[in-house]
Symmetry: C2
Subunit: 333 residues, 2 copies
């Protein structure tokens, strides 16, 4: 935590080595999506306009840019496919979570109904696999299908553990490994295949992505309590209202005495918690230093991610991948 005050690179600075390719992706997304079905195109347009960090495609571009001999269209295919898979899970999550705001926009299924959101998610998902098949590399297909299977499993686990206040840190890590880290890990490994790295680097990239993904999600879960409205593209308190027992909740229970712990559990299990309940929990977290403790755990995963980069060739890309691990921990959105 010593470097918490230190200025870290912005995502824009991190993207510098692949800025042109990253910007160009926006039109590739559209090209790969055109469906001749207006309602699908509208949903996608809406989601694409919503932006998002393009975090996964950026990782793909950074890893792949270490090798000049990769056909650019294959890099684009992989970058587009990982973003499509990510977007598909957002669409399905929104139906599952019944959430109201995603990236500060109205959620697709509130505009078009749940049906097209489920089906548009399926479409994106299928398109992603078609695009991956076009690359024609079985290792990439294997990485990505393993990742999506792990994601679906993680999402189900998360649903099962909703409102389960006794969730352990290990169970929480199992959930976020599936729902978030597996796709980031698979994307990094897949990009490593494209770049023709050997098994040692592939394994390191997989572990880099895994630990970076865990750090990323832990900080996401902090931001659900601490983000200022408007800065972060989500409603604060969303996880709380959905009964998601995230790391800040687990840590809070650990540090509290049994009396207060009981109180938190009772709030969490309420039929209809209100904004005051949320404020109360957030205030307790603040007082008990929960956010610092939670961020410290995120930092440990980021450190692990960083260490994996030792086998990666020194380059501007590697500098960016190193900067990414800090960005993830200290980001405000």
């Amino acid at each position: 935590m010593g470097d918490e005050g230190q200025p870290n690179a912005t995502l824009k600075e991190i993207s510098e080595p692949v800025r042109i390719e990253l910007d160009a992706l926006e039109s590739h997304f559209k090209d790969y999506l055109r469906t001749d079905v207006p309602v699908i195109d509208s949903i996608f347009q809406h989601l694409l306009d919503g932006g998002g960090k393009r975090f996964r495609p950026l990782l793909v571009l950074l890893v792949a840019s270490c090798n000049n001999s990769i056909p650019p269209e294959d890099i684009n295919r992989l970058a587009v496919a990982v973003e499509f898979i990510h977007t598909a899970t957002l669409l399905h999550d929104d139906v599952v979570d019944q959430s109201d705001v995603r990236r500060g926009n109205r959620v697709a299924h509130h505009i078009w109904g749940a049906e097209p959101s489920v089906l548009a998610g399926d479409y994106l998902y299928s398109r992603a696999f078609s695009i991956l098949v076009e690359i024609g590399h079985l290792g990439i297909l294997q990485s990505m299908s393993t990742a999506t299977t792990s994601m679906a499993r993680g999402e189900v686990l998360q649903l099962l553990r909703s409102y389960s206040v006794a969730t352990t840190i290990e169970e929480y890590i199992e959930v976020i490994t599936g729902k978030t880290a597996s796709l980031i890990s698979g994307s990094c490994r897949a990009a490593g295949y494209l770049a023709n790295f050997d098994d040692i680097v592939l394994k390191a990239l997989e572990q880099y992505g895994l630990n970076l993904g865990l750090s990323f999600q832990i900080v996401d879960d902090i931001l659900d309590y601490t983000a200022q409205k408007g800065v972060f593209g989500k409603t604060t308190g969303k996880d709380f209202l959905e009964g998601k027992v995230t790391l800040p909740v687990i840590i809070l229970q650990e540090v509290l005495g049994s009396g207060s712990r009981r109180e938190v559990a009772d709030i969490f299990l309420k039929e209809a918690p209100d904004p005051d309940d949320f404020e109360k929990v957030r205030e307790m977290m603040n007082q008990e230093g929960v956010f610092e403790r939670t961020r410290e755990i995120a930092r440990q995963y980021s450190d692990k991610a960083s260490a994996e980069l030792a086998v990666f060739p020194k380059s501007d890309s590697r500098t960016s991948l190193e900067a990414m691990v800090k960005y993830v921990v200290y980001r405000k959105a």
Copy 2:
């Protein structure tokens, strides 16, 4: 229609050449599914116990059995994957359609809620692709990812055209090509790759599956009006209540005078149609010979499917594939 009275082979008889392999699939489904997550396993168990015709796996087995040198585990993988993809779409359709009965059982999302159904569908879908990747054949992956993309597109089109009484036959065929025929077509082609057939046979298998699939769905849409409860594992009138403008509805409008046509359209566009409305439409269809006319169109597609088999090596499998086209047209369930 001349052979309508002629006894056709049962599905059991058709399966005879691959009976042992087909029966063995039931345990393979389970083996490939075990997730260590009890609620997912329960959903799958429920769906697997529900049975279903195993129509797509049967086609895979019949096509693949023409070549003795295919590793049996690859045949099983393909057969399992196509059934998983089919089951995933059933799960998502049920959420989209809000239907009550599927194969005579309670629909999964009524027992466990919509959330696990969406996510379990995603899981099945991802597993299917992982299993296909294990086969390690890009042609198979390409056939299957093209099929699933086409399915998702067809499902969205169908949703868009709900309650659109002016749907044309061409638009209807476009929808069912996507939602039903593309997976059957892709499964046949993929099985052809396994069996090492040349491009001519692969193309013929693709066309066989496409036309068989169209015939299959058209008859499904007839059965939604004519099936006796209990015989067919669906509620009669489901399509009608969901405002699906299927071929019997299109044909009915074609044969009616403009006055009665208007009446049908009005019934179809009712806010809350009741069983009497359904009976009325069904009775009109009966009187106007709509079911025979519709079945005749199914028969034409089956004939096209049959013709494609000319290039397929003569064998017990081919006899079964030929019997399948008649079974599909004249089946009662």
